[in-house]
Symmetry: C2
């Protein structure tokens, strides 16, 4: 589990979903009440976004928060254990 790649994966999800909504970073920021420069850096994987802001983003984009955490773990250095076991 590589922290940097987690942030990049989150950012990629954020960007992909925002683009399907056909709204700008600025517009997303306005809806979510988050600064536009922060949206930009979050999408580029430069920010360790907190839970409240993850929820804000999800609500603004009208998706379940889990959509933003739907990572492609194959790209990570270590495969998280939940791929091997179920709860």
């Amino acid at each position: 589990m590589d922290s940097e790649k987690v942030l990049e994966a989150f950012g990629a999800n954020l960007r992909r979903i925002r683009e399907t909504r056909k709204i700008s970073q600025e517009k997303l920021g306005e809806i979510a009440n988050i600064d536009r420069t922060y949206v930009s850096s979050a999408e580029r994987g430069k920010r360790n976004v907190s839970l409240i802001n993850i929820i804000k983003f999800a609500n603004a984009l009208e998706v379940n928060p889990s959509a933003l955490l739907d990572f492609q773990w194959e790209e990570m250095d270590e495969i998280p254990r939940y791929h091997k076991t179920k709860i």
Copy 2:
């Protein structure tokens, strides 16, 4: 969307899943490499946990990160819009 309740909901999920694993907060902290007292405060909804730590918790508990974000929105003040639309 009430921030305080989001944190409490996250903490409740964290605690519930940890208890199904039958491990102590201290043991979870050891696995996730997070301080025991931090686990305690996160479970009590006192921390706005960031993405990296959400992933650490999820990996340590061997669950998908989205399991920790599986909130009961009915209890919240405002129903997030993703209940009304799908992506």
